[in-house]
């Protein structure tokens, strides 16, 4: 570090040490490079998705915005990684609280309805999706409740599980009120994943799983879902039923991916992409652009990179001796895995259509920053996994 040699012993140096001093110790380069590669591919795909039929050089707006999102996300990632994760109570409740307040505000006139759900918060020209923050908040909150055994215990008790249920229920209820089915499903999946691997009593794990299935059935039959949500599910079962209506997305997505073939048409060369046949192709349906323009090869690269990220996160979880750190990693892995599978699955016609972005690849400010922040948490845990120095 040149800075350290130039200013050998100043108070500033000490503060810098506190902030970044622990960082370079252990870095999981596989994880970092995979995430960087996914982000880079994402920028290219966003560019291709938004350039239309004209010269790609004339339509770089979204791509440049996405670069800014990534830059901010990278800073957040480094900052989060730098903070010692072993001080959960220092910021976990803060993040959780911010997320819940954000979610509540969305339901006030400050919220904005986009694509049928009130999930955007608009303050002074800035847009944010508190739902994305809630994912981070829930991971941290649950890790705190389930990963910090009470005195004399070495695993979560029934009380902890009940507290954790409350911690889930509050943001979940707010998100269902938007309504944002996709994010709600991610929260439930993250909860189930973390609970199952937290060492909580098996009866709770199995019992909640059964309850979850029953609840879903109840929601389905009770008519709590919006028409378009039901339509998405039915058209998932039979996309040809209404090719111009709700089945349109599913059909067009499959056509885009299928027509790409093994090699793809080449970046900026996809006719389906440039004709904008797939709605939301730079956000939720970004994978159709990859499918058409980069083909099976490109699609596989993205899937393998995502698998690498999740594998590394799980490895870091296994190496972490602290239950709290391990649970954060498990939460992040569950989140990324569930969201990636649902997102790519829906473009390939094997999952119903829910509004979820593809981690690191889809265009989006809050989502990109949230995903990179989550990676920052994991990197921070990794660098300190071997115990205290």
């Amino acid at each position: 570090m040149t800075a350290t040699t130039r200013f050998p012993s100043t108070p500033w140096r000490n503060r810098t040490r506190w902030l970044v001093g622990a960082v370079p110790r252990r870095i999981d380069w596989t994880l970092v490079l995979s995430v960087a590669a996914l982000s880079a591919i994402g920028v290219l795909l966003v560019w291709a998705a938004t350039s239309g039929t004209g010269d790609p050089r004339d339509a770089t707006g979204h791509a440049r915005s996405q670069l800014v999102h990534i830059a901010i996300g990278a800073l957040v990632c480094v900052a989060v990684a730098a903070v010692d994760y072993r001080l959960p109570s220092a910021y976990a409740p803060v993040i959780y609280a911010v997320a819940v307040i954000g979610l509540a505000l969305v339901l006030t006139p400050l919220g904005e309805v986009i694509n049928g759900s009130r999930s955007w918060l608009v303050i002074g020209g800035f847009q944010a999706q508190p739902g994305e923050v809630a994912k981070v908040g829930l991971v941290l909150g649950l890790a705190m409740l389930l990963g910090e055994p009470r005195a004399g215990e070495h695993r979560p008790t029934t009380r902890d599980v009940l507290f954790s249920l409350v911690a889930l229920a509050v943001p979940l209820a707010l998100i269902m009120a938007q309504p944002d089915l996709g994010t709600a499903l991610v929260l439930v999946a993250v909860y189930m994943g973390m609970l199952a691997l937290s060492g909580a009593p098996a009866r709770w794990v199995v019992g909640l799983l059964v309850c979850g299935v029953l609840a879903m059935a109840a929601v389905w039959w009770s008519g709590l879902l919006k028409d378009y949500q039901i339509a998405r599910f039915t058209s998932f079962v039979d996309p040809a039923a209404d090719p111009r209506g709700t089945g349109y997305n599913a059909n067009q997505a499959k056509i885009a991916v299928g027509s790409g073939g093994f090699n793809g048409t080449g970046l900026f060369q996809g006719e389906h992409t440039s004709g904008r046949f797939v709605p939301e192709q730079h956000t939720d349906f970004i994978f159709t652009v990859a499918g058409e323009e980069l083909g099976f090869i490109g699609g596989t690269v993205i899937i393998v990179l995502l698998a690498l990220v999740i594998w590394r996160v799980l490895r870091i979880a296994a190496e972490c001796s602290q239950p709290y750190g391990r649970l954060v990693c498990i939460g992040v892995a569950t989140w990324l895995c569930f969201q990636s599978f649902i997102n790519i699955g829906m473009t390939l016609g094997i999952m119903p259509i829910t509004g979820l972005p593809l981690p690191f690849v889809s265009y989006g400010g809050t989502a990109t920053i949230a995903h990179l922040a989550a990676i920052g948490l994991v990197l921070g845990i990794h660098s300190r996994a071997r115990g205290f120095d």
Binding site: A196, E271, H272, S274, G275, F277, F296, V304, R326, F341
Partner: protein
């Protein structure tokens, strides 16, 4: 340690789950992108482009010298672009309003016409593709088109373009033979799979005549311009383009000048017949090249103005073209008119009798009437000529000679109680002359005519027996009030028919011998038969099409002539018949018509005929060919309910020969000047100003006209356009 182990097991399971999920994704992606790739590519292709059909320029129909009979003319068409209108804030309302003012039509009408047809939206609406310009006004004044072109900013989405429309260069001439175009119907598109690819909503298809028969070659290949479109249906560029290939020109055997002469002569013939008090409701004429079977001219009156088809005919106009009151001008009598051939049929009767054993050099008695089967059969106007040769019997058209011949042949077959395998010499000879079956000419919907024989009689009886037996019992009360005698006759006829209507009676055979009774022929069949007599017994398939020549003249494809047959007649019989027919204009029933015609220069052979049909006045025939010593043309003229053949039709045929060979036609119109109805098309005037023979050297060209690279057409050597 147990706790840690448990956690590790969970993580291991989680990792396996992750791998399983991601493997599923890759597997699914492989399925979509490798085995199913072609399927999705085809789907994508279908969704990304919209085709615009660019119709090819239709080929012309030329006569044998290269004169255009049907060509193309450009007219200005105002059309709207569906998507451009739709993209406007008010859906094009303001633009259509301004356009309505310029075109002087109600704006509501234009708005309706720019809607797309669907099960909920019925006409007026646009049936074609939304990517095809929607025509809103055809054949507009250049002034209107200019207004729109110059103020394009006021008319976004509206264009004024030139469009090719079919143009009958010679007006009404040969209008039924040439045919017409109409927009293709949805049913036709359904029926013919291949059409769907090549047609668009704006395209027209040949519906009758040569336009229909040679539609495919005349049409050419339409070009397809594929526009790339986005998900909003907006055009983003041209994805691919195949240029249209113009249709081939059809060179016919026709001669536009002869056709004009025929049309004029027929019209005059009808006019003259009407002056004599005859109804003369229709007329037809066919001119054949006896050496090739080529149809040189083919006319049918009444005719109609072919411009009615422009822009699609409406139902009322169409019904009128088929109505009795208007004289069914759409129907070509030359092709579909069925009349008894009357005495023109005696050529076939003579052939049958002689081939069946009658002596060619014998004498035959020609009394004023003969009685057969209890009925008296009269000569025309009761004339008697004593004893005649067959030659003379043809020249003076003695019916009784042929009655006797017919009766004799009937008796040889066993009469009322026929032998097991009757000769049926008359019916078989009639069929050998090509009667009773379509000639195979290259025109649609040809009538077959009718040769009555035993088989036909049986079928006819079976079909009508029930009705006749009913009448035999109850009579004709509705007729009795007005004419008790006629009612009694009808009742007796019904009684006879009811009992043994299937028998081939002596009366049938006798009537048949002079081309009366149940025999029916078309003018085209009769012309073909006389052409066969002229051409030493070669019965050819009449043909209009001679060759196709590509628009640039580089490709020339001759149309193969149809099948030929030989008349089953000995040469000396044929020669005898030819010499008899050659004397008809000179000294027989055609004498009046050919007065003053230089028969020594161009001898004409022919036969008159006067056909009677129950309830109608006599129809006049003249069937002929010339020159008799070296035949080139066969000319048949029919005037329906026009009187006798010698007075009504033979003069028309003579006028046609006058025109072909450039002779003077005597004025028969009783002092009236010639500026009557004939020549009303205006364009006939150019024929009128030309003097001299219509056909140089009295023969149609063997060579084809040539199409120059610039598209102009040169006549064959020795011919003038």
């Amino acid at each position: 340690m147990r706790r840690l182990a448990r956690g590790q097991t969970g993580l291991l399971l989680t990792q396996m789950l992750v791998i399983a999920l991601f493997a599923t994704l890759i597997g699914r992606m492989w399925y979509l992108q490798v085995p199913m790739a072609e399927h999705y590519r085809a789907l994508a292709e279908a969704g990304h482009t919209e085709a615009l059909i660019v119709p090819a320029t239709r080929g012309h129909i030329l006569d044998s010298v290269g004169r255009s009979m049907v060509g193309n003319r450009t007219e200005l068409v105002i059309s709207a672009d569906y998507h451009q209108l739709l993209a406007q804030d008010d859906g094009g309302e303001a633009v259509l309003g301004r356009l309505a003012k310029v075109l002087d039509t109600p704006p509501e009408e234009l708005r309706k016409r720019t809607r797309l047809c669907s099960p909920e939206v019925s006409r007026p609406c646009w049936q074609g593709s939304p990517y095809q310009p929607i025509p809103l006004a055809e054949d507009v004044e250049p002034r209107v088109a200019l207004q729109i072109k110059e103020r394009q900013e006021d008319f976004p989405g509206i264009s004024a373009e030139q469009q090719a429309v079919r143009h009958h260069v010679r007006g009404r001439d040969a209008v039924q033979t040439l045919g017409y175009l109409q927009p293709i119907t949805a049913d036709e598109l359904e029926e013919r799979e291949d059409l769907r690819v090549r047609f668009s909503g704006v395209d027209r298809v040949g519906r009758d005549g040569l336009e229909a028969v040679y539609d495919e070659q005349l049409r050419g290949t339409a070009g397809v311009r594929r526009y790339a479109v986005n998900n909003m249906g907006e055009v983003t560029g041209v994805a691919s383009e195949t240029s249209s290939e113009p249709g081939m020109h059809l060179v016919t055997h026709m001669d536009a000048r002869v056709q004009g002469i025929v049309e004029d002569a027929l019209a005059r013939g009808m006019e003259n017949a009407r002056k004599e008090g005859e109804p003369a409701d229709a007329a037809a004429s066919v001119v054949l090249d006896v050496r090739t079977g080529g149809v040189v001219a083919m006319a049918s009156l009444p005719n109609y103005d072919p411009s009615v088809w422009k822009g699609g005919v409406d139902q009322d106009t169409y019904q009128n073209l088929l109505s009795e009151e208007a004289g069914k001008p759409l129907v070509s009598r030359a092709l579909k008119g069925e009349f008894p051939p009357a005495s023109t049929f005696k050529a076939a009767s003579l052939s049958a009798a002689v081939e069946d054993g009658a002596s060619l050099n014998g004498r035959y008695s020609c009394p004023s009437s003969i009685t057969v089967g209890g009925r008296s059969f009269q000569n025309y106007e009761g004339d008697a000529h004593g004893s005649l040769s067959l030659h003379k019997a043809i020249v003076v058209s003695c019916n009784t000679v042929f009655y006797q011949l017919g009766y004799d042949m009937w008796r040889e077959d066993g009469g009322i109680d026929p032998v097991d395998d009757p000769e049926d010499a008359m019916a078989n000879m009639a069929k050998a002359y090509g009667f009773g079956a379509p000639t195979g000419v290259d025109l649609p919907h040809e009538a077959a005519g009718r040769v009555p024989d035993r088989e036909w009689k049986q079928e006819y009886w079976e079909a009508g027996r029930e009705d006749s037996c009913e009448r035999a019992k109850n009579g004709y009360p509705e007729v009795r009030e007005e004419d008790p005698g006629h009612a009694a006759y009808l009742k007796k006829a019904a009684e006879e028919f009811c009992v043994d209507g299937y028998t081939w009676r002596a009366g049938d055979a006798v009537n048949f011998s002079i081309g009366q009774g149940d025999v029916l022929v078309t003018p085209l069949q009769l012309a073909r038969a006389y052409a066969a007599i002229a051409d030493d017994g070669t019965l050819r398939t009449p043909q209009l099409g001679k060759a196709f020549v590509s628009a640039d003249g580089k490709q020339v494809k001759r149309i193969e002539p149809g099948e030929t047959e030989k008349l089953p007649i000995e040469e000396k019989t044929l020669e005898y018949l030819q010499s008899a027919l050659a004397d008809v204009p000179e000294e027989g029933t055609g004498r009046y018509a050919f007065e003053g015609f230089p028969l020594d220069e161009v001898p004409v052979a022919g036969k008159t005929g006067t056909a009677s049909l129950l309830g109608r006045k006599e129809s006049a025939w003249f069937a002929s060919y010339a020159p008799a010593d070296d035949p080139q043309y066969a000319v048949v003229v029919l005037i329906s309910q026009g009187g006798t053949g010698g007075v009504a039709s033979a003069p028309v045929a003579r006028e046609i020969y006058d025109g072909i060979y450039g002779f003077e036609t005597p004025d028969r119109s009783g002092g009236d000047s010639e500026d009557g109805e004939s020549g009303e098309d205006g364009e006939d005037g150019e024929d009128g100003t030309e003097s001299g023979p219509a056909v140089p050297n009295g023969a149609p060209p063997e060579e084809l006209p040539t199409v120059q690279p610039d598209g102009s057409v040169q006549p064959p050597d020795g011919y003038r356009k």
